[in-house]
Symmetry: C2
Subunit: 222 residues, 2 copies
Amino acid sequence: MPDLTSVVAFDVNETLSDMAPLGRRFAEVGAEPQLAATWFAGLLRDGFALTVTDSHPVFGELAQESLRVALSGVLPAAEIDDAAQFVFEGIGELEVHPDVAPAIQGLAERGLRLVTLSVGGTEVAERLLERAGIRDLFEATLSAVEAGRWKPHETPYRYALDRCGVPAAEALLVAVHPWDIDGAHRAGLRTAWVDRDGTRYPGYFATPDLVVDSLEGLAERL
Amino acid sequence: MPDLTSVVAFDVNETLSDMAPLGRRFAEVGAEPQLAATWFAGLLRDGFALTVTDSHPVFGELAQESLRVALSGVLPAAEIDDAAQFVFEGIGELEVHPDVAPAIQGLAERGLRLVTLSVGGTEVAERLLERAGIRDLFEATLSAVEAGRWKPHETPYRYALDRCGVPAAEALLVAVHPWDIDGAHRAGLRTAWVDRDGTRYPGYFATPDLVVDSLEGLAERL
């Protein structure tokens, strides 16, 4: 199959950003650092549940409130609001993974058009890319917020194609989350799964077109 | 508002069954017991993601494969299949919470019609209720499997109403999961949230009609 890719769309949370500092913030407020993974899975679970019933939750609001819920199980009531706020602010201070900047540079040099496509707002993505010094290499930061529906519904993928003015066959979605690969595949995009940790890909989701162990590996494959 | 409840529909996983033994099974295979909560949130996250794209995953298959994925991050490859199978078998051996049997007895004595409504299969629910000696107090064990769509989509709630032959105003959905309360509310049912652990209810989901700290508390409120 010829590679027609002209636009590469990157998921943001965990795909570009390293979320490990959030685990340290959970520990700093007195919770177990492992609660970060449970909280984030629960945040997406609840966002998807609302999407199933045709709602359109705001990621930031869901993140804050789900932090209060997660911490309500382990901290005294009087500490929860401040602790949730402290962890939430950490989302706005994350850095990109070490493989991101060099890979983005390499893809941009090959003439590929680069965008982000997140269920979160564009502002968090903008600032993340600015801190990494790679904002100018992206043509746009796109969000499910403007699309009016969360991934993995096909609406935000279609919205990204419309915004870029390309057919699905020319777009590649890059993500660490298998549910995002599955949604993009159903919307007709090509997909690349980034597996930095050597985990298993769930057989119940559509198989990715490419599997790479880092974004630098991706640059070599396109 | 007069209480018209004639049918009480119970969620099964965690609402009736105590899933704590699964954490011990994670520990027995060499993973951290906290991984149980992350795995289960991820299982629902992935099931809801598939529901967003109009798929209809089989709960048992999703549970098994998501266990392999969760354990692939922490165990050697050669151990994963056996370890996942060991934890999975634990689902079929869970017991009900201590408050379940007396509460079900009380509700049945008041003449209420009792059913289960799970995203899992009916067989697991059947055996769980049989082990607790309360299977005969339930009129039916219903499942999203037959409804053709997972909760919180309105389809399984509508299916339960059809099966029981009652309007939504006569049915009460009882669950520990806020996303289930939200889905049932949107489908027009009354709702009771069981909060055994004193956690916060997420503000982004529909408010439950009743909040109780155990099923025994529920029997007193109807």
